[in-house]
C-alpha cells in the first residue's frame, strides 16, 4: 500500500469515528452542560471537560452550517448531517483501498 493510501484511510477512519461519536449526542438533543446528559455520562462529561467542545460543535453545526436552530427536529437533522459525513468518509476510505484493484493493465497469471 502506498503511504498516501494509508494517510487517507487514516483520515477517513478518524473522521468516521469522530462523526459516529457525535451521532448519539445529536439524538440526545445536543446537550452542552453536564446535567443535561443522562446519568452515567454526567460525570464523564465533567471530568473530561467536554462541555466546551459540545458547546462549540453545537454552535457551529446548528447555527452555523445548518441554520436549523428554530426547527423542532433540529437534533435529527444534526444526526443525519453527521451520519452523512461519516458515510462519505467511510466511502472515501473504501474507495482509496479499492481503487488499487481497478486495472488498466492485466498481467496473465502463469499456468
Amino acid at each position: 500500500m502506498k503511504p498516501i493510501t494509508i494517510i487517507l484511510v487514516g483520515i477517513a477512519v478518524l473522521t468516521c469515528l469522530g462523526c459516529t461519536f457525535f451521532m448519539p449526542w445529536a439524538e440526545l438533543g445536543l446537550p452542552t452542560t453536564a446535567q443535561d446528559f443522562p446519568g452515567p455520562l454526567k460525570g464523564l462529561v465533567t471530568s473530561l471537560g467536554l462541555g466546551g467542545l459540545f458547546e462549540s460543535v453545537r454552535q457551529q453545526v446548528v447555527n452555523g452550517i445548518l441554520k436549523v436552530e428554530h426547527d423542532p427536529n433540529f437534533n435529527f437533522y444534526v444526526y443525519s448531517f453527521f451520519m452523512g459525513i461519516a458515510m462519505i468518509a467511510a466511502a472515501i476510505g473504501i474507495c482509496v483501498v479499492g481503487r488499487e484493484d481497478a486495472e488498466e493493465k492485466t498481467v496473465l497469471p502463469s499456468k
Binding site: Y77, S80, M83, G84, I88, A91, A102
Partner: protein, 381 residues
C-alpha cells in the same frame, strides 16, 4: 472504415470520463454506473416510501378539526414532527426523487453523447422515455399527497389542464379526481396512482433491461454510501416542510416550485393550456425520434455457420444484447441445440465470435479467418 467519435460532444464526454478515471479509477467512475444510479435511488424511494406509507392517511377530511383531526396533512405532520427521524425519512424520500430525475438526465445524456442510443438499443431508448414520463408523473402525485396549499393548487391546475383537452379531457379529469370534485376519494386515488405507478416502473424497467444481458443495476457499495450520505446531508441542510393545510374554500395562488418535478406547472402558469399540451406532446415525440436522426449504416448481424455449431451455448451466454437464442437442432444433427441470432437485437459487436471455440459464428463483414490471416501476415513480413 468509418471514422469513430468525431462529434465534439462525444469527445468532450470521453475526456470528462477519462478525467474522472484519473481520480476515481474505472472501478468507481460514476459514469460507468450511469443506469445503476437512478435504479439505486428507486430502491431508496421504495424503502423510505414504505415508512411513510405506514403512517399516511389519504383523506382530506377536516370536518372534525376540533376533535383530533386526522387527514392527509396531519398524518404527514405526524410523520414529520412526532415520529423520531420521520422528518429525515420524509426528506430522504423527497430528495431521492429529485436525485432520481437528476441521475436519469445524466444517464440519458451519457447514452446519447457516447452514441449508445440507436438501432439495436431502440427498445431501451423508447422504454426509457416512457419511464421518464412515469417518474415525472409519480413525483408530481407525491406533491399532491402532502395536501397543503401547494397540493391544492397543483390539483386544480391539473384539472384545468385536463379540461383543456378535447374528448379525453373529461374522462381523464373524472379518473384523476375519482369523481367530479375533490373528495376523500380523490386522495385515495392519488395514493393509488403514486404507489401503483411506482410498481409499474418495475415493469417498465423489465422492458428496459430485457434486451441486455446482466444489466449493471447496482453501483459498488462505496458509491451507494456516498449517494445516501449526500441525501442525508441535503436533508439536514435544506429541511423540508409542508405549507398550510389545504382548505377547499380558499384559493391559494402562488407556490414554491421543485424544478425537478414541477416545471410543467410553471409552463401551465405561463402559457395557454393548448400550447402546454402541444409542447409536451411534441417534446415527447421528438425525444422518441432522436435515435432515428443519426445516419448510420445498418448493423450486419452475426451469422451462425450451421454445420459447425455444436450447440455449446457459450455465445448465447456471453452476447451482451441477449441476441442469441438456442433452439433445438434440426433433425439429423449430431447436437441437441443450435445457436440462432435474432438479427434485430444484434449489435455486430462480435463478442459471440470471441466466445465460440469452434469458429461457428461470424461477423459477415469481418470473418475471423480473415482476421487470423491478417495477423499472420503482419507477423511474417
Amino acid at each position: 472504415m468509418q471514422k469513430l467519435y468525431t462529434d465534439p460532444l462525444t469527445k468532450g464526454m470521453l475526456l470528462l470520463e477519462d478525467w474522472t478515471n484519473k481520480i476515481a479509477t474505472s472501478k468507481y467512475n460514476p459514469f460507468y454506473y450511469h443506469g445503476a444510479l437512478p435504479q439505486f435511488f428507486l430502491w431508496v424511494l421504495f424503502l423510505t416510501g414504505l415508512l411513510l406509507f405506514a403512517y399516511y392517511i389519504p383523506t382530506i377530511d377536516n370536518a372534525y378539526a376540533s376533535e383530533k383531526l386526522i387527514n392527509a396533512w396531519t398524518s404527514v405532520d405526524y410523520i414529520t414532527n412526532t415520529i423520531p427521524f420521520g422528518a429525515v425519512f420524509r426528506g430522504m424520500h423527497r430528495y431521492a426523487g429529485d436525485a432520481m430525475v437528476l441521475t436519469i438526465v445524466l444517464h440519458v445524456l451519457r447514452v446519447w453523447f457516447t452514441d449508445r442510443y440507436r438501432q439495436y438499443r431502440i427498445v431501451q431508448w423508447l422504454s426509457g422515455v416512457v419511464l421518464l414520463l412515469m417518474v415525472l408523473f409519480i413525483g408530481q402525485t407525491g406533491y399532491y399527497l402532502v395536501w397543503d396549499d401547494r397540493s391544492l393548487i397543483l390539483t386544480r391546475m391539473t384539472v384545468s389542464a385536463f379540461d383543456a383537452l378535447p374528448l379525453i379531457g373529461g374522462p381523464l379529469k373524472t379518473w384523476f379526481l375519482n369523481g367530479e370534485e375533490i373528495t376523500n376519494l380523490t386522495l385515495s386515488n392519488f395514493l393509488f396512482i403514486h404507489i401503483g405507478l411506482s410498481f409499474g416502473l418495475l415493469f417498465g424497467l423489465w422492458i428496459h433491461y430485457v434486451r441486455m444481458q446482466r444489466p449493471v443495476i447496482t453501483p459498488p457499495p462505496a458509491i451507494n454510501y456516498i449517494l445516501v450520505a449526500i441525501l442525508l446531508m441535503v436533508v439536514a441542510w435544506m429541511p423540508i416542510a409542508s405549507g398550510n393545510m389545504a382548505q377547499l374554500t380558499q384559493q391559494p395562488t402562488s407556490f414554491e416550485i421543485d424544478w425537478f418535478f414541477l416545471w410543467p406547472y410553471w409552463m401551465m402558469a405561463n402559457m395557454p393550456l393548448g400550447a402546454y399540451w402541444l409542447v409536451l406532446i411534441v417534446g415527447t415525440v421528438l425525444l422518441c425520434l432522436i435515435p432515428y436522426t443519426a445516419k448510420t449504416p445498418p448493423v450486419e448481424a452475426a451469422e451462425v455457420v450451421l454445420n459447425k455449431c455444436t450447440g455449446c451455448s457459450l455465445c448465447s451466454k456471453d452476447c451482451p444484447y441477449n441476441a442469441i437464442e438456442m433452439v433445438p437442432a434440426p433433425a439429423g444433427s449430431r447436437f441437441k441445440l443450435l445457436a440462432t441470432v435474432k438479427e434485430f437485437r444484434c449489435s455486430g459487436c462480435g463478442v459471440c465470435v470471441g466466445a465460440c471455440a469452434f469458429d461457428a459464428i461470424d461477423l459477415p463483414n469481418l470473418l475471423d479467418t480473415d482476421v487470423t490471416s491478417q495477423i499472420k501476415a503482419l507477423v511474417q513480413n
